[in-house]
């Protein structure tokens, strides 16, 4: 069969270009916004997801990791006494102030953990070792934020809340949603930087014994330790992401932008496919007169839309992946998981086919007798 759909598309290269520009714009806008969304989601919960803890214990009513309320460390012993617990570590995550060499101040996210059992410690180390944090006032920062924090070299001395700190290592790719860089240090240092008393902690991180269900352990701890909330790692991660993405409206904004991208795509594609259909309306009338069923004509139009969608998707997704790759060098990651890449293909095809429905409606009502009218 001569592919009328493909030939029609290629015959009018200007219109094809306009259609493709619309689809590519839509795919890139949607993919980048969704990528930003997933990047933000990851940034909000990265510290939790990489903590290797099975459970997080917080004081009552903590809505997100950055604003914890301190509680007495004695609860650690109550938790440790719970059957099925193999390890419990005190942990600190909280905002702090970093004085840059230029004299300004930057907000940071202090992360204090037990160096002997590094639940909740740093990952992706590119310079230095976790053991280096045993040195007095030692901290680690992420390479992506070096410029922001004014860190030029390892061993540089800086100030956190008026206390001395020394950079002993760098991580790579640990982003935070609040744009306050994560600064890892020992629990003891963090207590000082955060202004906590020696017997206080923000969190307890729990490791379950092999074979013990974190959900069951959570219930056991919750029933014997008062005035705390206990979450599995996945629960706390979801709570944290939900707070930032939907509680603050930040994620909704990004999702709306993604939806707008789709909408723009639908409008552009619908308009160009409709214009193309109108250009070829006499041909569709001829086909109808020759005996083509409506189904045959629908297939031509849908094929046209699907081919446009496929070409537009390939170009648009290639551009989006390039942008995503480039974003990994910066503090705002655009993350495109394989599932989203595949879902966007389906979405693009549905968008294009959906957009062609206006044309299909036109062709359905087309009177084949038009071919005899001059």
């Amino acid at each position: 069969m001569p592919s009328l759909a493909l030939k029609n598309l290629l015959h009018d290269k200007v219109r094809l270009t306009v259609t493709l520009v619309g689809i590519v714009f839509s795919v890139v806008l949607t993919a980048v916004q969704l990528g930003l969304f997933f990047g933000f989601v990851r940034a909000t919960s990265d510290l939790i997801d990489h903590s290797q803890a099975d459970l997080w214990i917080t004081s009552h009513g903590v809505t997100h990791i950055e604003t914890a309320v301190p509680f007495p460390e004695q609860k650690l012993y109550q938790v440790l006494a719970t059957p099925g617990v193999t390890a419990v570590e005190k942990h600190i995550v909280g905002f702090g102030q970093w004085k840059t060499p230029r004299g300004g101040e930057e907000g940071i996210l202090l992360v204090g953990f037990n160096l002997e059992n590094p639940l909740g410690g740093p990952w992706n180390l590119v310079a230095g070792k976790v053991e280096d944090l045993k040195e007095p006032d030692a901290v680690m920062v992420d390479e992506l934020y070096r410029e922001k924090l004014g860190v030029t070299h390892l061993g540089q001395t800086v100030e956190i809340r008026g206390r001395r700190a020394r950079v002993v290592g760098f991580t790579r790719g640990i982003r935070t949603f609040t744009t306050s860089p994560a600064v890892f240090t020992s629990f003891k240092n963090a207590q000082g930087y955060a202004g906590l008393r020696e017997d206080q902690t923000f969190y307890l991180l729990v490791k379950a014994a092999p074979g013990v269900s974190p959900v069951a352990l959570k219930q056991a701890i919750a029933s014997r330790v008062s005035d705390v909330d206990v979450y599995t790692r996945a629960e706390f991660s979801r709570k944290q992401s939900f707070y930032w993405m939907f509680g603050t409206g930040a994620g909704v904004t990004v999702l709306i932008a993604a939806a707008l991208g789709l909408l723009v795509g639908i409008v552009v594609v619908a308009q160009t496919i409709y214009a193309s259909t109108m250009d070829h309306i006499r041909e569709y009338g001829t086909l109808k007169a020759m005996g083509a069923s409506n189904g045959y004509l629908y297939r031509v139009i849908i094929k046209q839309a699907a081919i446009s969608g496929l070409i537009g998707y390939v170009i648009g997704m290639s551009m989006s992946l390039f942008v995503s790759r480039a974003s990994m060098q910066g503090t705002t990651a655009i993350i495109l998981p394989p599932l989203i890449i595949a879902a966007l293909l389906v979405l693009t095809l549905l968008m294009c086919i959906g957009a062609s429905l206006v044309s299909i409606n036109k062709v359905t009502r087309l009177d084949p007798a038009m071919v005899f009218r001059g």
Partner: protein, 232 residues
């Protein structure tokens, strides 16, 4: 001999009430296999409407339409494309070729509608083009052909799938004299040598010598006295 296509008592009225227009009024008409019938008349006389009704493109308000003796006027709308596809080839005044398809593909598209595809379609398309003398233009786009050549491609397309009836609407109107004669010669050959019923709507009086029979229509009525058989 049974008519390949016949209409009897066909009336077509547009609109309703006082504003209605009777375009065809109790028309009887038939064409047999192997004959070329010219349907002539002034503009607005109803000849194209009659052609559309015979081609199952337009429904008559009343009356009977038979194709090879089978009543088709009462068939549901969804059945009509199948009837057109199986029995009728159309030739249009404006050629109505597909500009994005080359000549062979234009013909093959008609075969595709009849589910003849692949090599068989290519072969049949080339045979049809051979028959209209345009095999050497198979890969040309319609834009690169003359008016006469375009109409010959349209004829090849109308013949795809071997329909018994060919309905042509002013096939020579857009052509110069020589091209018009060549097209009419081809249609006459089709009727006489291939046994097709060919109905041509025209008001090109230069074409009269190609008709086996001429039917005049005026104000929606066939004029019996004016219809005549032409000695071939």
């Amino acid at each position: 001999m049974q008519a390949a296509i016949s209409v009897s008592g066909v009336t077509k009225v547009y609109g309703a009430g006082a504003a209605s227009i009777r375009v065809l009024d109790q028309v009887d008409f038939s064409a047999r296999a192997g004959e070329v019938v010219f349907l002539m008349g002034p503009s607005g006389s109803g000849k194209t409407t009659l052609l559309s009704i015979m081609g199952c493109i337009l429904r008559a308000t009343s009356g009977s339409v038979k194709i090879r003796g089978q009543e088709v006027a009462q068939l549901p709308e969804r059945e009509l494309p199948r009837v057109r596809l199986a029995h009728i080839g159309f030739i249009f005044q404006g050629f109505n070729l597909f500009p994005a398809l080359n000549v062979r593909e234009n013909v093959a598209l008609a075969l595709d509608l009849k589910r003849i595809r692949g090599r068989q379609a290519d072969q049949q398309a080339m045979e049809l083009l051979e028959r209209v003398g345009l095999a050497h233009k198979a890969k040309e786009l319609p834009a690169n052909l003359s008016g006469g050549q375009k109409q010959r491609v349209a004829i090849a397309r109308a013949l795809a799938g071997d329909p018994e009836i060919v309905l042509a609407d002013e096939p020579t109107a857009a052509l110069d004299g020589a091209s018009g004669r060549a097209v009419l010669e081809l249609l006459r050959e089709l009727a006489h040598e291939r046994g097709r019923a060919v109905v041509i709507v025209t008001h090109d009086s230069r074409a009269l010598t190609y008709a086996d029979r001429i039917v005049h229509i005026e104000d929606g009525k066939i004029e019996p006295a004016a219809s005549l058989a032409v000695a071939v």
